[in-house]
Symmetry: C2
Subunit: 94 residues, 2 copies
Amino acid sequence: MSNLEQMRAELQELNLQLLDLMNQRAALSKAIGEVKRKQGTNKFDPEFERHMLNQIAEHNHGPFEDSTVQHLFKQIFKACLDLQQDSSKKLLLV
Amino acid sequence: MSNLEQMRAELQELNLQLLDLMNQRAALSKAIGEVKRKQGTNKFDPEFERHMLNQIAEHNHGPFEDSTVQHLFKQIFKACLDLQQDSSKKLLLV
């Protein structure tokens, strides 16, 4: 295996680890949405989202810039929120 | 600590693990860009990107939909490519 092939194999391994964590986060986020639904509180919490984005920037040591990781996490947050809302819609339909 | 607080703490732990993996992927991607630069090959390889996206969908067991994880990974791929290109520009400037 060439150096490039070896590196690409590592890249694919990292993809699968990222995929696993994304889905773990999605499942936890769904569970949080469920708790909030029972409590009757709003699912979207901009203050906690801002807190997480600050924490991410504080722990970021690159090579990605803070603005890049924050952009990527905003996409993940949005996807999790959409998933929470889809679950609520399904509950309303049954 | 309430149930919600506990779950939020776990969410933040997952964020930091995701951040670490994203940066590992970014560093590896930069290294791949460097190898390709020396070989004189194009950094953007749509065929390999498509292969990775297919592999991600094959390994996805939810709760995120395939289209959602593929969208998130496309953003990560783009951020990695931008980083490779920034590195090349810096090399041209020295």
